[in-house]
Amino acid sequence: MTQATLSREEALVGQLKAQFPEAIKAAKIDRTHRITVVFEKDHLLNIAAFMRNKLGFDHVKGVAGVDFPTHKKIEVLYFAGSYSRPEVQDFIVILKTELPRDKPAIASVVTIWESAHYHERETFEMFGVEFEGHPDLRKLLTLDNWEGPPPMLKDVKFPEMGQR
């Protein structure tokens, strides 16, 4: 792949790094139209507002959680995309940050990206991540009478189910 085909990605990474030199720890071009940005969790709202207002990323396609029990951390990923700006319509920018595993909490991006509403509810339910400032942080998918720890954490076992 030549350098010319990745020029738009490099321009995007350059803009983000220039704007937030201390917040962004790493920015990597995975392949065409795919960028991964690792950042400090306190700067989430600033980065999100910059990406929506200046770069044209007007929605998130998903909010995901990844559990790392041995590293004592939970990663939260935001997959940002764009409908409104034609030059970045094919792009997906992955914003990735780490949270402590014993008390995971991060600011909610619903005020900036409204489509994160249900995704944050799901991540709250499955991984126990508290999204501070979310308007309606309830459980979403499990049964109505569900009680117990967040089921997607890797060290959670269910003794009533079969264990291998």
């Binding site: 499990t142 049964l143 117990g148 089921p151 959670v156 269910f158 189910m161 079969g162 264990q163 291998r164």
Partner: protein, 209 residues
């Protein structure tokens, strides 16, 4: 042509079923709590005779050649319910297609409603939310009704054996006639399960259920 034959067979089966329900029950006696004494006596009298006729019909139908006719008509009218719990339904669709052609065994998805259906094929993983619906569907179907558990998940939990949202014991919801392991089972395996179920129906007592 075969659709017509299958429909005739199925309606014959339903006729036997109707006769059994009508002749075998004493609903008329129970529902007349506040009527007059003479009516009650009359209905008791009628109930006794209906019971006697029902015994007679049971004896005639349950043994001898009529039993084989009834079982034969049931064998050739296995209509599956259209309920899909998971991804095994793709293999189920392949089985229902023209290559294997289960219509030669009288199995076709032409049913208008649950009450005309005879067979549930539990197609794959049963989640706790879906188990409730599956049970409702099973209870809405008319007897006799048969169940095939398709895939590892429906048999024992399979890939999701230790998950938090899965029902491992589908046999606790309703009795299962044939298990088909595999993830997913081949369409041929499902068809062989249907053939096995037909063998079971062939040897069945008419008034077993």
């Amino acid at each position: 042509m075969s659709v017509v034959v299958a429909t005739c067979l199925h309606s014959l089966d339903k006729l036997f079923q109707w006769c059994r329900i009508r002749l075998g029950s004493n609903h008329s006696k129970i529902e007349t709590g506040e009527k007059k004494m003479s009516q009650e006596t009359l209905q008791d009298f009628a109930g006794v005779w209906i019971g006697k006729i029902s015994e007679l019909v049971k004896t005639i139908v349950g043994s001898g050649p009529i039993k084989y006719v009834v079982n034969w008509s049931r064998m050739y009218a296995l209509w599956p319910v259209h309920i899909t719990t998971a991804c095994c339904s793709a293999e189920f669709g392949a089985m229902m297609g023209p290559r294997l052609d289960p219509e030669r065994f009288g199995m076709q998805s032409v049913a208008g409603g649950l009450r005309q259906c005879d067979l549930i094929i539990v197609e794959g993983t049963v989640t706790k939310k879906m188990a409730k619906r599956l049970k409702i569907v099973y209870e809405q179907m008319a007897q006799p009704r048969y169940v095939i558990a398709m895939g590892d998940c429906a048999c024992s939990g399979g890939l999701f054996h230790d998950s938090y949202s899965i029902v491992n014991d589908v046999h606790k919801l309703f009795p299962i006639d044939v298990y088909v392991p595999g993830c997913p089972p081949r369409p041929e395996a499902l068809l062989s399960a249907v053939v096995k179920l037909r063998e079971k129906i062939r040897r069945e007592e008419v008034f077993a259920q």
